[in-house]
């Protein structure tokens, strides 16, 4: 599903963000991306979204080199990638329903699709009864579930999550993780960048660790810290 071939990226100010990364992520995998701030996690996600292009190497998604995509095709690439962020990025003046519907409307889906898909996805994230509320009236955990609903409503092949639990308490983090797992079970590839050690340790999923742009670990059923990983 995702393939990095010797990918390097250096920002204009000279700081290397990623150094010679090669990896494969299969369809339906759940991958944690861990590492300190500035280790290159966000760059990794930005490259997947083609917000940035690598300086060297290639990135393939669904077998296609995304660097070869003409600029006008990029939106179509992004329709296959859902995104969730630490700060939710909901539209404060739209209801829960309209926030999710917006994602379908702006890619030109007909009204009938919107009306059938949105309630279904709100049901999945457990917010069917809050569809008329504004984001400001919801708790952080609920807002993040709306954001997940928006990211997933178009049934993307890949779901990227950048610190989705970063602003949430443990209970809410838990429910978001459960949701992401559920989405993952539908066959969606999930890549999640996180700092949440406890979460990673408990999930026992593939862990890719970055350190100053280098991949220092790729473990199939990993935990957060290197030392603990070595002990197992």
């Amino acid at each position: 599903m995702i393939r990095f071939e010797n990918v390097s990226k250096t920002y204009k100010n000279g700081t290397p963000a990623l150094k010679d990364i090669s990896l494969d992520i299969e369809k339906g995998e759940f991958v944690f991306l861990v590492g300190a701030s500035g280790s290159g996690k966000t760059t990794f996600l930005r490259l997947l979204l083609r917000e940035e292009l690598p300086d060297q190497g290639r990135i393939l998604e669904a077998g296609r080199d995304i660097g070869d995509l003409p600029k006008w095709r990029v939106p179509y690439l992004r329709r296959n990638i859902g995104c969730v962020f630490q700060d939710f990025r909901l539209l404060p003046n739209k209801t829960v329903f309209d926030n999710v519907a917006f994602a379908l409307e702006v890619i030109g889906r007909p009204r009938s699709t919107v009306e059938s898909q949105v309630p279904q996805i709100l049901d999945l994230v457990g917010l069917a009864d809050k569809s008329r509320n504004l984001p400001g009236e919801l708790s952080g955990g609920e807002q993040q579930r709306v954001a997940v609903a928006r990211a997933f409503v178009n049934r993307p092949l890949i779901l990227l999550a950048d610190e989705p639990t970063g602003n949430l308490d443990p209970a809410n983090s838990e429910s978001i993780m459960a949701l992401l797992e559920r989405i993952n079970r539908t066959g969606t590839t999930v890549v999640m960048a996180t700092h949440d050690k406890a979460l990673v340790d408990r999930m026992r999923r593939r862990v890719i660790e970055l350190d100053r742009g280098e991949m220092i670990r790729d473990q199939v059923r990993g935990v957060y810290g290197v030392d603990e990983g070595a002990m197992l």
């Binding site: 939106p75 992004r78 995104c83 539209l91 994602a103 702006v106």
Partner: protein, 284 residues
């Protein structure tokens, strides 16, 4: 497609409403500048038409009294023929002048004239245009002469005045059009800024670039369009009521042409303003 159409209209209208003060400022600036452009064009066309109609190859005309005797007419004719500064002369009988008046004047005016009231005339071409004045001063006070006119001189002076007015109008219009563009650019920039969250979500979920851009382009387009509509009303009112109209006999085609130019310039200004704003601030 229908979904998109509705979306674009909704977005455009809500953007216009949100920035309504700026929108009004932009529309009025477009309207004022385009009114100036329209008036300048009308003036230019009136002048051109007036020249074409009045001149008709003649540089100086000696109008005889309608009651002038045959002797008086032949005396003028001989004098004209003997003047070296006059290249050629043609005599128009009262009937000929009446027929010409019929062509030139609106029906309401020529219908009260009769052949007997019309002067006969000599249409002369002087060797150089300035000599029209010599002819004028020679014949002005002769018996049987009603008046001597040198339309070209008048037209030349009038054209000069019109040209200056035109230059002033167009220079003003240029400055105003520039500020109209900047105002439109600024309203679009504000619209983009107030929608930056929406725009970032749209990019994220894969809305195409044109999908994101079009509401802002139509916003500028509509501002330009509204401005030109106001200007067209102003120019049409000017054409209908301004006294120049009667004298210059501008036809409807000239007005339609002028209004078409006003409309096109307005729409172009609006589109250019929003295109610049989108390029600089939308980043898609």
């Amino acid at each position: 497609m229908r979904v998109y159409f509705r979306y674009a209209i909704k977005e455009t209208l809500s953007n216009l409403w949100r920035n309504r003060m700026m929108t009004i400022a932009a529309v009025l600036t477009v309207a004022v500048s385009l009114s100036l452009v329209g008036s300048a064009l009308l003036l230019k066309q009136s002048a051109a038409q007036a020249s074409a109609r009045w001149q008709q190859g003649t540089r100086v005309t000696v109008w005889m009294e309608p009651t002038a005797s045959q002797n008086e007419i032949s005396s003028v004719q001989t004098q004209l023929a003997s003047m070296p500064i006059v290249k050629s002369c043609a005599f128009y009988t009262q009937a000929q002048d009446y027929a010409e008046a019929k062509q030139l004047l609106p029906q309401s005016e020529w219908s009260v004239l009769t052949v007997a009231q019309m002067p006969s005339s000599f249409r002369c071409v002087p060797t150089v245009p300035a000599n029209a004045f010599v002819v004028e001063s020679t014949f002005k006070n002769q018996p049987g002469v009603y008046s001597v006119t040198a339309p070209e001189q008048q037209i030349r002076e009038m054209n000069h005045a019109i040209r200056i007015i035109q230059i002033v109008f167009l220079a003003l219009a240029g400055v105003l059009l520039l500020s109209a563009t900047v105002l439109i650019l600024n309203t679009i920039r504000m619209a983009i800024f107030s929608r930056r969250r929406e725009v970032s979500v749209m990019k994220l979920v894969g809305a195409t670039n044109w999908f994101i851009r079009i509401p802002y382009i139509t916003e500028g387009f509509i501002q330009g369009l509204l401005g030109s509509v106001v200007a067209i009303l102003a120019v049409t009112a000017l054409h209908t009521w301004y006294p120049l109209h009667n004298e210059f006999q501008l036809d409807t085609n000239a007005l339609i042409g002028t209004n078409a130019v006003v409309l096109i310039v307005g729409v172009v200004i609006g589109s250019v303003g929003s295109a610049i704003a989108i390029r600089r601030f939308l980043d898609v």
